[in-house]
């Protein structure tokens, strides 16, 4: 039996170490859930001017008010909170829309998320970068419909996903009540599973720009890899180059 060259093991170890360092770095510096920023508690986010200056952008993942199985509108809150079951949820991929069904959770169904934000400056504009919400939703801020993706109602349901930025101002008292009614009848995930980014308009514009640049860099790198591997495959007929081309080209 031939001896496996030690360089193979060293290479594997170095690759594992480099990946570990990269993942630790990302966990520490690119993590929505461990960011040291004030979060909502029991559906209420209270921000001061200093806090907003220190963290002009944050990801709202903690303690959204959630009404399962109901497509509510601001009218339902006109006389205070509706008298029905609600709970507080953290936004994550493990969330399910219908949390009340018999002995099991399901991604299909509907629900309504509510978050109340007490903001320091009632005259300023704030922004919310909405990630993909599965699979159709209506979003209201202070009772006004600001965004609609797809069609919610069961008889005319139509799914649609996409990233959008919503810009709004709080009312005179600095309150912004965000209400998102979600329905999913078609996808494996349901509801809000990615936390939306919230902050000042400038900060969120920067975040979107950086994300766009990173996406472009990745697409460009993949395109270059695909072209090189296609060239190698055509030139030297190496089957590995073909496989690499197949994996890089999508």
């Amino acid at each position: 039996m031939k001896k496996v060259p030690y360089r193979l093991y060293v290479g594997m170890l170095l690759a594992a170490a480099a990946a570990s360092i990269l993942f630790c770095f990302l966990y520490r510096y690119n993590n929505k859930y461990t960011q040291q920023a004030v979060q909502a508690i029991d559906g209420l986010l209270v921000l001061s001017e200093e806090e907003l200056e220190e963290n002009p952008c944050r990801f709202l993942w903690n303690d959204w008010i959630y009404y399962p199985g109901a497509l509510l509108t601001p009218d339902d809150f006109a006389q205070g909170d509706p008298d029905r079951y609600m709970t507080y949820v953290d936004l994550s991929a493990s969330n399910r829309l219908e949390i009340h069904q018999n002995q099991g959770n399901t991604n299909y169904g509907c629900g309504t998320y509510v978050l109340r934000c007490k903001l320091p400056d009632s005259s300023s504009c704030y922004a919310m970068d909405m990630p993909e919400i599965f699979s159709a939703y209506d979003m209201y801020v202070n009772g006004t419909l600001v965004m609609s993706m797809g069609e919610l109602q069961p008889d005319s349901y139509q799914d649609a996903t996409g990233n959008r930025m919503v810009i709004f101002s709080p009312d005179e008292s600095g309150m912004a009540i965000i209400l998102i009614a979600v329905s999913n009848q078609s996808y494996i995930y349901g509801g809000m599973i990615y936390p939306p980014a919230f902050g000042t308009l400038e900060a969120l514009s920067d975040v979107r720009e950086i994300r766009l640049m990173l996406c472009l860099c990745i697409i460009f790198a993949l395109l270059i890899s695909a072209v090189i591997s296609l060239y190698l495959w055509l030139r030297i007929r190496h089957i590995n180059a073909f496989f690499f081309f197949c994996s890089a080209s999508p």
């Binding site: 039996m1 031939k2 205070g80 909170d81 008298d83 079951y85 609600m86 949390i99 009340h100």
Partner: protein, 157 residues
């Protein structure tokens, strides 16, 4: 919280929700209020307490406690055992959850009227995670297969 939600403060933990009306407990704006909803006995009971400045309080007006359907066994009529007595719950069809108005604070045991509290159906975790286990097994077997094939090819060269 009460101001924003129409005079009702809602607390929720482990799926159990309490709605406390503004006049249900006496407190000042500067008081420290602690609401605890702690599952006991493998989630077949919940210990619910409200403290104002670390002291137990009396509930003047009934508060509403909500339990989602998933808290109860499939068979039997859902009920609560409170302080030794069994109390039936009101079912809210819109929310698919059970509710009860009460001024009692303490341990609420979830029972089905026809069955004992400790006969909660066992969740089939193995069945639920079958795809995960199969996926991991396939990945491990596939990985081993390719590693063995790689070293065999090296040997043959």
């Amino acid at each position: 919280m009460m101001e924003q939600s129409g005079g009702v403060a809602k607390f929720s933990k482990n799926g159990v929700t309490i709605a406390i009306a503004q006049n249900a407990i006496s407190f000042e704006d500067t008081d420290w209020i602690t609401v605890s909803i702690v599952p006991v006995k493998d989630d077949t009971a919940y210990d619910i307490r409200i403290l104002v400045n670390d002291a137990a309080v009396d509930i003047k007006n009934p508060m509403t406690i909500w339990f989602p359907e998933t808290c109860f066994p499939d068979s039997g009529t859902p009920a609560l055992e409170i302080d030794g007595s069994v109390q039936l719950l009101e079912y809210d069809e819109d929310s698919c959850a059970y509710r009860m108005k009460t001024t009692f604070l303490g341990t609420f045991s979830l029972i089905a009227e026809d069955t004992a509290a400790d006969e909660m159906p066992e969740k089939s975790y193995w069945l639920r995670n079958l795809f995960l286990i199969l996926g991991i097994s396939l990945a491990v077997i596939g990985g081993l297969f390719f590693i063995i094939r790689y070293f065999r090819r090296k040997d043959n060269r």
